[in-house]
Symmetry: C2
Subunit: 199 residues, 2 copies
DNA sequence: GCATATCGAAACGGACCGTTCCGTTCAATA
DNA sequence: TATTGAACGGAACGGTCCGTTTCGATATGC
């Protein structure tokens, strides 16, 4: 007995190894189900059927349904190329238009599912908080740059600005209102940047 | 046979009528479950157990779980007294602080559950859109009033302003970040109202 | 060959949804 | 007051899903 190494680590490679094909098939099936039917049609059983995999195989590599959902979500390449239009107004518009188009292409369903899951699952909530903080940092750079250019007031907090624009985009996604006209987006961005107070 | 009236309408009142006690017990049990454990612990079976009611009784009056959730949600008294501090900055601060305190008192779990449900259920999504539009109208009045007072620029759109502040509050709720310090809220409101552009 | 590890298929217990049946209770009416 | 129809709670149902267990088959390293 006790044939394991003293350090407790499993031996590296005896026996069959994890099938990369199966892993890919599971992730692709899960993503497809989410994009097509959202969280309602996303179940481990449906993923297994579609991937021609066994449920135990899924549970061998993912501890539960939420983790699989998060894996699909985090695996999505942002594919958001760097934004730099030269003005903060142009940057914000490009950000929102790019985001809305990306979400409308199917990824919105995945993101919405993560949001839904995060309302009752702690691990999903934590993952979403981490992701949101990361996005705030990235978007904040747009405002940092604009500040460097002298476009913004000196006492502006880029993190707050990034949070406001992200909150707007998310609320549009989560209430199913991504069909904003260009003109509407322009008015919103302009008011967000200029504020409302009389000057 | 054919003892029903020719117009097909049911007779108004023969037999027992809907028990107001039972209806109240069901709604109270449902609300309590949502406030205590969120959407995860909200099931028709649990509601029936807690309300000492039969499942068929619930399904007799509510077509499905989502409608019962929405009924609990819409029955919550907003209890939000009218806001009028004299300045738009004070109004926005009072709005956010009141909202956060209200949500922290337990109602936040109910609202979060509606948001989660709305990500995969169309009737919940529609109800949420309607509610959001209503809130935009109410909050927009704060900005209308400020405009009347001459506090705001003439070309400000109160609806956009209301949408931005609601989006900020919701994103805080949905990502579990209601613990904003007073100072943080003040900075956010100030930046939202003044904008970020150099003037 | 033999031990180990993976795989898919099938089945399981448990929870829940939404429905059906049953016997009881309640209230309007004849 | 007796009758009648409607609402009630309890029990059970078929179905779906979660997460687990068992099984036989297959792939890999010693």
């Amino acid at each position: 007995m006790d044939r394991k190494p003293a350090d407790g680590k499993r031996r590296a490679s005896v026996g069959a190894r994890r099938s990369a094909d199966t892993e890919a098939a599971i992730l692709e099936a899960a993503e497809a189900l989410l994009r097509e039917g959202g969280l309602a049609s996303f179940s481990i059983e449906a993923v297994a059927r579609r991937a021609r995999a066994g449920k135990p195989t899924i549970y061998r590599w993912w501890p539960n349904k939420t983790r699989l959902l998060l894996d699909v979500y985090l695996r999505q390449k942002s594919s958001m190329e760097a934004i730099d239009t030269g003005s903060i107004e142009g940057d914000c518009l490009a950000l929102l238009e790019g985001l809305f188009a990306y979400w409308k292409s199917g990824s919105g369903q995945v993101f919405r599912s993560v949001f839904a899951e995060a309302q009752s699952d702690d691990t999903a909530a934590e993952a979403l908080r981490d992701y949101a903080a990361d996005r705030r940092a990235v978007t904040g750079q747009l405002f940092e740059r604009a500040k460097m250019r002298g476009e913004l007031s000196d006492n502006v907090d880029p993190a707050i600005a990034a949070e406001l624009i992200a909150a707007y985009a998310w609320s549009r996604l989560l209430t199913g209102r991504l069909d904003a006209l260009r003109q509407e987006l322009e008015a919103t961005v302009r008011q967000m940047l200029r504020g409302v107070l009389k000057r």
